[in-house]
């Protein structure tokens, strides 16, 4: 088992951790990344879906030879998915993980402020 699910004596500790300044910062930092990133990806995806569904003539506009706007935007969806994935991995490794490690270190060796 990787952890004990029942740990009632811990519950109070979790609340103090949740209320601590460090945890608040961590939580805010995560949400400040995650909310705009996910919203952005979904808006960009639905923009593409709406364009493809309701404006097929616009999508047929040629960009280069047979390569039309629709194919370009479709390929860009792949590019943006790969880009956000890479961006998130980088952000997590450089900005989020160290903060989690610091917080955990402190939690395991005494209190938080």
């Amino acid at each position: 088992m990787s952890f004990s699910q029942q740990a009632p004596e811990r519950v109070a500790t979790y609340e103090t951790v949740q209320a601590s300044r460090e945890f608040g910062q961590l939580n805010r930092r995560f949400r400040n990344f995650a909310a705009p990133a996910v919203t952005g990806v979904l808006c960009w995806y639905f923009l593409f879906v709406i364009l493809a569904t309701f404006f097929p003539d616009l999508m047929a506009v040629s960009v280069f030879g047979k390569l039309n706007l629709g194919l370009c935007l479709g390929l860009l969806q792949f590019v943006s998915t790969f880009a956000v994935t890479t961006w998130y991995l980088r952000w997590a490794r450089s900005s989020f993980d160290p903060m989690v490690d610091r917080l955990r270190e402190r939690l395991e060796h005494g209190g938080v402020r």
Binding site: Y14, V38, Y45, F46, P56, G70, T81
Partner: protein, 556 residues
Amino acid sequence: MTVVALPATAALPVHAAPAATIGDPVVNIAVFAVFITMTLWIAVRVSGNNSTASDYFAAGRTITGRQNGIAIAGDYLSAASFLGIAGVIALYGYDGFLYSIGFLVGWVIVLILVAEPLRNTGRYTLADVLAYRLRRGPVRTAAAVSTLVISLFYLLAQMAGAGALVSLLLGVSSEVGQNLTILTIGLLMTFYVLVGGMKGTTWVQIVKAVLLMMAAAVVTIWVLGLARFNIFDLFSDAAAKSASGDAVLRPGLLYGGGLISKINFVSLSISLVLGTAGLPHVLMRLYTVPNARAARASVAWATWIMGLFYLCTVVLGFGAMWLVGSGQIAAVPGKANAAVPLLAFKLGGTLLLAAVAAVAFATILAVVAGLVLSASASFAHDIYANVIKKGNLEHHDEVRVARYTAVGIGLAAILGGIYAKNQNVAFLVSLAFAVAASANLPTILYSLYWSRFTSRGALWSIYGGLISSITLIALSPVISGKTDARTGESLSMITDPGVNFAVFPLENPGIVSIPLAFFLGWLGSVTTREQVDPARFARLQVRSLTAFGTVKAARR
């Protein structure tokens, strides 16, 4: 097994050719037998003793991020992806491309919002996470019910797809022969799950994913080579060969009909992009790795692999349009699903066809094994161990019950597959995505991120999403009342054109049921007097972000 229910107006004229098989069935069967022997050997070899629940359900959490990423791709890329999407592209061009985009973009939600918190707070199933802060019994039961329903729909689609593929590739066209094939596939995958548990199933997924990528890559490079490695040449040659001309390069051939057809496509797109993060068999894989960072890595690996794969399907689809031609594809049994096998036969003859056919079967087999495992884990861990026994049991009891359940689900899938093999299997996969997005996703997001979410909100959202999506499907043209405008033939599951209770015009319920489930989750929470336990939310939130309180897994 394509994910698309083709609208009547877009159906191509089919001058039904006699059911012909392509290639040499003996070679096809031989290659397939080699694959089965190899995977069985692997499943037995790697499985170990599998006596504890952690071994059986989560491979002892010993899978690395990269291995798990490949296995996730193996679990997710069903035959619907390999044969279905390429086939739709071969017949309708651009509109098939839209599917692969929805399937891929959904992974961003899994990566950023779901994977790490889920790994940090759960043990084996989705219900673990919900039970963390909500009323355990009822919420666990609800989550297990939705897991079982989603898995069953997904299973039926795969089994039925297997039956359809058989008639084309193995030359088995008799009723009895097809049923025997479904029986064989069902027994095999149940055996993988019984013996191999999560570890054995994981390695079957990995082998399958590697073979699938290799097959896709070989055919893709071959097609590109014939097009002088110029993708624009491929597009123009394919368009020139198609009856629809340049229209295959722009959206609208499949979903350009009326307003209803367009809204239907938007609905499908919503289901695809939001459904991924609620698929139980994929989420269960996140528990097989040692920690949240490995879960993150595995989703990232899976995204890369699947992205490359979907790019290959574009080439496969346009390649089939160019080299095989939509007339021939529409004339063989299996229609769109046959595009890739036909293309392989055209390029590499009997041997390449046999290889591609074996990969397609492997794909079905592996996906089915993953589904059976997640459904049986959910029953054994959520309903039996935690609701019926209330947690008072030995861990090997849980595994024993899971094995019995796997046999039961295997039998249900075999029977269902035999019954459904002649049905329109298309809707089963898209229904599974719509149900997953409606019943699971709102509850997952609310319980991880919303402090005021309550048990009643969860129950309303899960059951509301489940019931509304299934009811709307039952009342849709998928089930009754859809006829071919030209021939008057029924295109619905109920083939009697006289029966028509399709009062809901869309084939995919997502545009209604997903927002409804989100709304119900909110409404159920804000209108109840039930007290939210701040301590439990604190525990969930702290653990989900920091893994604090979980025993550190061995660092690798």
